[in-house]
């Protein structure tokens, strides 16, 4: 393993200090427990939008803290959900009187820790709700599994609900919008290499030169199937098909297409893949109205990509277009 780090044990804290130094106008950080908080939080009268989860998916979530998106992010250790007390600290540090909405990716650990925090904060009188994001169509949703994972769709939930919160919408409205986005967003990913977790020291899985793992998550867990490596055309089609079938997306639908790098796949490849996805969607009559292309939901140094499709309506489109001022998204 080669990484530009001092010590696997200090990676998250070191990154937080660097973030604080890099973006003093956007955010502040705390290291015990680890928190990234909007510089002007608490924002009086506005719902606090809080997310978090294991580190290693940057810019998710800390890179999305700022006006128009998250009020706070709670980073756990690498690939490890943060603890309830850290989430509680975020809730109390952003307490504005308008309540807090937690955006939680659907993993056993994240759900348990965030819901415990919400419960404890509720006992102290705070109005806290949680929305679970589970957009990954690679996982069968069944009561016999942990359910679908939350992956790239989380960014879209955070942007859109962040805009609603910034507009001063109520906690109920924010929660309803979040649930609507969750209901209309689907994702699927592929890996060409496994990520290397700093404290593990070796790749989470190893693929040979002619293999890819399809249906992967963002924690280095192997995917649905190991398949022979393909061209970009083949890969994009394999990601798009199960997404289109799932909701399903149909001819005439307006969508947001999010083409995401898992970390080490460079923009020259990602734009190529994005172009293919746009072409395939156009052939289906699905109308791409908004796009996001880049490494926004990553898995450390993993090579690979994911596609996320969100069905748009007028309100969601407007909320997407609303201004945002964060380290990773800014318009």
């Amino acid at each position: 393993m080669k990484k530009i780090i001092n010590d696997p044990a200090t990676v998250v804290g070191d990154a937080l200090r660097g973030m604080a130094a890099a973006h003093p106008e956007l955010l502040r950080v705390r290291t015990d427990p680890a928190l990234i908080v909007r510089a002007d939080a608490p924002v009086a009268g506005k719902v606090a939008l809080i997310s978090g989860g294991g580190s290693g998916h940057e810019p998710l979530h800390g890179g999305f803290v700022g006006a128009g998106m998250l009020t706070a992010a709670v980073p756990g250790a690498v690939f490890t959900s943060p603890t309830p007390d850290a989430v509680q600290a975020a809730i109390s540090e952003t307490e504005s009187g308008a309540g807090a909405l937690l955006v939680v990716k659907n993993y056993t650990g994240d759900v348990l820790n965030f819901e415990t925090a919400a419960e404890l904060a509720g006992l102290e009188g705070a109005d806290v709700r949680a929305v679970i994001v589970d957009d990954d169509v690679a996982v069968k949703d069944s009561t016999h599994t942990a359910g679908r994972r939350g992956v790239g769709g989380t960014v879209l939930v955070e942007k859109i609900v962040g805009a609603a919160a910034e507009r001063g919408e109520s906690l109920e409205r924010c929660e309803a919008i979040a649930r609507r986005v969750v209901g209309q967003v689907r994702s699927m990913g592929v890996a060409l290499t496994g990520p290397t977790v700093p404290h593990a020291g070796e790749p989470s899985f190893t693929l040979s030169e002619d293999e890819m793992e399809i249906g992967i998550g963002i924690h280095g867990e192997p995917g649905r199937r190991r398949l022979p490596m393909e061209s970009a055309d083949g890969i994009v089609a394999k990601l798009l098909e199960p997404i289109l079938e799932d909701l399903p997306f149909a001819e005439g639908d307006d969508v947001l297409l999010f083409t995401n790098s898992m970390g080490a796949t460079p923009m020259i490849e990602l734009y190529g893949a994005h172009g293919i996805a746009e072409r395939l969607l156009a052939e289906r009559g699905v109308r791409v109205r908004r796009r996001l292309v880049g490494p926004y939901t990553t898995s450390l140094d993993m090579q690979g990509m994911s596609l996320t499709l969100l069905k748009l309506d007028e309100e969601l489109t407007e909320l997407w277009d609303d201004p945002v001022r964060t380290a990773a998204l800014h318009w």
Partner: protein, 210 residues
């Protein structure tokens, strides 16, 4: 012959040492069917447990277990943090403020711990989780306690059963936790949480502190 707060603390220190010694093994198990952090999570948590016990020494077994629970909940994270945390919390509640634990009390604590894990995680036997180590451990513990065994013996049979239970997770297809995403591909590997449960119980026994 009962098990005091000091005994419980000794057992927990031994458990922490075992987790630390097996940190890499647990990471490896989790790397294959999970996300490579279970050893790191448990080690971080149990180091915190020990350092807490270095400064605050509760006076009853129940108080010790409660301190362990809150420490784990606030340091482990992931799925295992709330699950182990709840287990210790429920075990603490089960033993109340007894100053010494006899065999049945130890068995009852284990039962309460298992119930807590199930309440939070909703796993059933065969889902390939720590529950698959805990169920046989609780069964064995209760049987031994019913036969009049003392706390050491109760723990010993529980540890033995947990070990077998953990090993028996190998062929299973996971239906809970992160390994469930792998479907059939999760078969052929021991569940890391079941392994850590077995490790902890064995360490409690070997500490000879109980």
């Amino acid at each position: 012959m009962g098990c005091t707060a000091t005994d419980v603390i000794g057992a927990l220190r031994a458990g922490a040492a075992a987790v630390s010694a097996h940190r890499d093994e647990l990471i490896q198990l989790d790397r294959v069917i999970g996300d490579a952090d279970h050893g790191e999570n448990m080690d971080r948590g149990f180091r915190a447990v020990v350092s807490k016990l270095d400064t605050a020494v509760p006076e009853t077994p129940g108080a010790v277990l409660k301190q362990v629970a809150t420490t784990l909940i606030s340091t482990v994270g992931g799925a295992s943090g709330p699950l182990y945390g709840t287990a210790f919390l429920r075990a603490a509640a089960a033993v109340g403020d007894a100053l010494e634990l006899d065999g049945p009390a130890v068995a009852a604590a284990l039962q309460a711990g298992l119930d807590g894990v199930v309440a939070r995680g909703k796993a059933v036997a065969g889902d390939k989780t720590m529950v698959d180590a805990l169920i046989p451990a609780v069964d064995a513990a209760k049987a031994a306690a019913a036969d009049g065994a003392g706390p050491a013996r109760v723990l010993a049979v529980a540890a033995e059963a947990a070990k077998s239970g953990a090993e028996a997770t190998e062929p299973l297809v996971a239906r809970k936790g992160r390994a469930s995403y792998l479907g059939e591909r999760s078969a052929g590997h021991v569940d890391p949480g079941a392994r850590s449960t077995a490790l902890l119980l064995s360490a409690f026994v070997e500490s000879r502190s109980v």
